[in-house]
Structures are given as structure tokens and as C-alpha cells.
Symmetry: C2
Subunit: 349 residues, 2 copies
Amino acid sequence: MSQESEFSGGDLRDTGMALKHDREWDYELERIVEAVEERDAKKVGLQFPEGLKRRGPAVADDLRDLLADDVRVLISGQPCYGACDLDTYLMRRTDVFVHFGHSPMKESEKIIYVPLFSNVAVTPIVEEALSELAAPEEDPEVGLVTTAQHMNRFDEMRTFLEERGYEVHTRRGDDRLTHEGQVLGCNYASADVGADQVLYVGGGKFHPLGLAMEHPEKRVVIADPVNNVVTIADTETFLKQRYGAVHRAMDAETWGVIFCTKIGQGRWEVATDIVEENENAYLLTMDEVTPDRLRNFGFDAFVNTGCPRITTDDGPRFHRPMLTPGEYEIAVGNEPLDSLSFDTFHGTW
Amino acid sequence: MSQESEFSGGDLRDTGMALKHDREWDYELERIVEAVEERDAKKVGLQFPEGLKRRGPAVADDLRDLLADDVRVLISGQPCYGACDLDTYLMRRTDVFVHFGHSPMKESEKIIYVPLFSNVAVTPIVEEALSELAAPEEDPEVGLVTTAQHMNRFDEMRTFLEERGYEVHTRRGDDRLTHEGQVLGCNYASADVGADQVLYVGGGKFHPLGLAMEHPEKRVVIADPVNNVVTIADTETFLKQRYGAVHRAMDAETWGVIFCTKIGQGRWEVATDIVEENENAYLLTMDEVTPDRLRNFGFDAFVNTGCPRITTDDGPRFHRPMLTPGEYEIAVGNEPLDSLSFDTFHGTW
């Protein structure tokens, strides 16, 4: 990206590059204050995802100004990577618990979800992405997905594409997703539509990489309004890395089978089924799955039944191969190598 | 240490150097099996401290052999640094929960504590340490302390010293400690005895460093039977580092005040008192206190009301100064610089 585009006006005015340093979020403080007053709450817990933790103190300040003096505001210092990853300790010990930056995975009276919709414009980058989509006269069918941050402009994206002659396919996915067209790092059911090409609108490569892995038969065009780039999702490196891990794990004698204790990341049956069928497999329970935590155990390989993105994206950081449950079945010879597929997560908790 | 000593026989036969690779621990499997059968337990949770996690799978194997087929064994993958640090998630979800390697901080029907006493001999190294103690004719008073691992030989140590003419001073400390003469990384009340010299028998420098910090008026002689060395605790580097952290924190405008959610590490009043008196202080809740977790917040400095050893020993690893509650009072000008003292932890939970 040229420096020019960063400073030029016109269509780029509202893109992520221009708004980089003054993106504004609506923390919905009034809704929080209302809940505190309604419940006569004395303790308010706030949880932010990693990228927004820096804003925590200012949000706490604003809330403290609005709330009675005897209301205590607590900020979660636990890592947070999604709506699957609630700080249940803080949630149970506060009267009002606010989770910022993710849409509800499951509604609960106890939790106030503040989604934090982005104010970056999306149509300029969608327009740029048209050059990577098949022209409507060739193939008018296009799937459309985005992340929670840009859901507020989903209709705008859809209308823009329709006005250019596309037939836009969208669906809600499953229980784990709040909105039509929404994807999560672990769930791409919303892209399960009758179109060979899918347009992903959103920041980064994390989501579209999962999308392309889960739907290898589709062409995934990435329109990134935050970094102002259009690219095509490429899963080759990713796939090579996964096959490499599976091959290395084939020699494993002992297996650590991770059951993740995070509220939305538990797959108890998947984990216990493996341990029951393999006497050299051991059940390990933990919340954060990190290289440090696994290094102290002497296992030859690991199966992670928690967040699939730790397995696939962070895999190379671990000292031993770490596989998804499906990859494990291949490594121990229960399934053929070509059954390798992306590990997705369904349901809530 | 010379290689010679590692391979020589005689007095070194049972020291840590000789036993390094075949130290044996009594995992008290029978006691565990008995509890499982008594409670008709279906889920057994095992928690090991970091240094013993590698033994987890073998212990699980032995237990699986002894237990009925339908009993599931789960191993905690959470970090564990003491009896203050129980995996409460696993504890609540298993019928029998076994905590290895630490003596009880608080008795509970739910928890089986297996202390894992060391089989290294202690008298050879205590004998060597005599040269660093004042001779009994000069000063017969000596305090004696050790860690949970060597408690099984505490009487042996005491007798050895008494036979050489010393008057051995010991005490139980407080509620946080199980045994007479026992020290923890955060509690040296057992060394609060009427003697100017204290003999610490145990592995590593972690405990004696805290001991010397907490009792700066005493000479602390370290008899380390695991590494087979005798040294004198030296707090100078440590003190310089603490004064440095306090000075750097004096410029801080905003403070993150950490309340640790680990069962035996919570000091709620200490944390909330600070936040109530300083409007630029914010309450953060977390279990593991790590550099990564604090980096995402934009605070100028931190006060850690959790484990004091993270603050003092790991302090330099954090990107901003992290202080103990007492050091915080100095940094903000409530207390004079010479009030700096070691942060200790009392009570249970």
C-alpha cells in the first residue's frame, strides 16, 4: 500500500487506513449503566478482547463517572479470543458482566454483550473487490460473509453487490452464530451457500483462511476494509503445515488429549472417546493452551479438542505436533490421509 | 561442583547429585485408590507442580491399573506453583482431587494432598554447612527451616545439630504452613525465632532468598542437599532490583492493581483499598500474572496483590515496573523509602 493512499482523500476517507488512529467504538455505556441501576449492582466486570484491552481503563473511567461511588468496576486480565472465551470467574463474582467486541454465542441474563461495530466504510473496498469476482454475466452467484465488527454494514454490502447484478447468497449458519452472514474463526456454516465464490468483508487473514480451508471448493475473495486491500485466500502453506504435523505425529507413542475448560470450547465426548480407545492417550484439562504448558509433559504428540485455531494457526510454535481430532484419526490410521479437513466448532455450551 | 563428586561414592551416595536421575517419590497410590473406592468416584483429577508434570502420565498409568475400568483419570494442565494454586476447575468437576508435591495449606475433604517427600540424604550437607555456622561455643543458637519436600527428615537435621552442641530453634509459623520448621516462598514465619543465624536445608535459592529478605537481621546459611552445595543467602542484587522498580514506578500516572483469582493468592482488601484511594488505579483480575497479559493494558506501573514472588523474582521480565503493595505505598509517597520490606502472605483462603 502506498503512503499516498493513506493521505489521499476521496473514497479512502472512511477506510481503515484513514481511521486507523481514530476509529471510534460505541461502548454502549448507557445500556450498562441502566443494567447496573436496574439490578442495584455493586460490582461490574468488564472483559475486552486482546486488541481492545488498551481501551479498558478509559471505558472504566467513563463508567465510574456515570455510576454511583459505591459501584466497583473490575477489568478482566484474562486473555480473551472470542465469545467462547468468557471470564467465568469474573462473571460469577460480579452483578453485571460486560463482554465487549463479540456478538452473543448464547444469550444469558447475566451477560451484556457489546458488539463494538466498526465505523470503517465497506463499499469502497467491496467495489475494489469486484475485479476479483467473476463478472455477474459469467457467474452471478456470490456468497457474502463478514465478522461481528462489520455486521452493522452487512445490508449495505449486500445492496451494493445486488445493484451490480449479483445474486447474493447468505445464511445464518448455526446456533453458534448470532447474525446472518456472520463467520467465526471456528465456524463457517454461513458460507455453506449455493455459490462457487464467496466474498469475505473484514479485517485480517484469520477468518478468510479458515473459510477457505472449510470450503476448499469455493474461491474466497477477501475485501479487507481495515487494511484497505483485496486478496485471494490461499490455503497452500496452511495445508502443507497440517500434513506435516500429521506425518510427524504418526510416530507418536504417547498422546496428550487436551480438554479445554473455556466455557465455549469444551468437547468432552470427543476428548474422552479418544482416551477410551487409546491406552497411550491421557486426558489433560486446561484453559489456555500454550507451548509452555505442554512442554512440561513428556508426550510425543497432542490432540487439541479446544479451539481449532490454536492447533492450526499456532501449531508450529509447539514443541511437539498438535493435531485436531480429525487429524488424530488420520495419524493413528483410523482414517485415510485425504480425509483431512478443517476442524470447526458447533453449538454453544 | 566437580564431576568427581558426582561419581564418587562414600558420603555422597545419597545426595541429590547421585540420585538426580533416579530420585524416587511415594505417590501414595493406595491412599488414592482407597478414597476412590470409598466415594465410588468416577472421575479422579491429578495436579502436579511444574517440575513433576513429566511424571503425570506414569502416575495416571499406575492408577488406571489399580482402578476400575469406568474410572476416568484427568491430569491438570494448568500451571501450578504451590498449595495456594489449586486447579479449582478440576477440583470441582472430579470426585477425588489429588494435589501432589505440596503440603496442605488448608485441609479439605475434597482434596488429597500427597506431599512427595524427597529421599535425598540431608545429614552430609548439614555437616558441610557447619563450617558456615558460628561454632556452638561462640553462638549456640540456630534456627532451622526446610521445605515440604524434606520435612520427613526434619528431626534428623535437628538431632544432628543438637548432637554437635547447638540449641535448635524451630516454630510452626502460622496457619498457612502445615509443619513446624516449614517455609513457603511467601511465608517465613517459621524462621521468626530467637537466633541470629538460620540454617535452611533444601533445594535451590528460591526459598532462602525470600527467607533472607524477610529476616535481613539474620545470617542465612543454605544447605542444599539436592545440588550438594553450601552457600550464604545474598540479597544485594535482589534489593537493588526492588529499589530500582520502586524508583521507576514513582513517575507512574496510571496503575493496574492486580487481584489474583487463584484460591490461595487473593488479597481483596489490599487491592480494593488501593483502588479506592487512587483514582488513577484500576482493578485487574486474573489467575496467571504474566508479561503477555499485562502488556496489552496501557498502564504505567502495576501493583501485584497476588503471589509476591512473581513481583520480586519475575519483576524484570515485565515491560513496566511491578510492585508489591508495600512498595506501592513507597512509590506514591505514603511511606518512606526505608520501609521497603519483603512481601509475605498469611492465612489460607
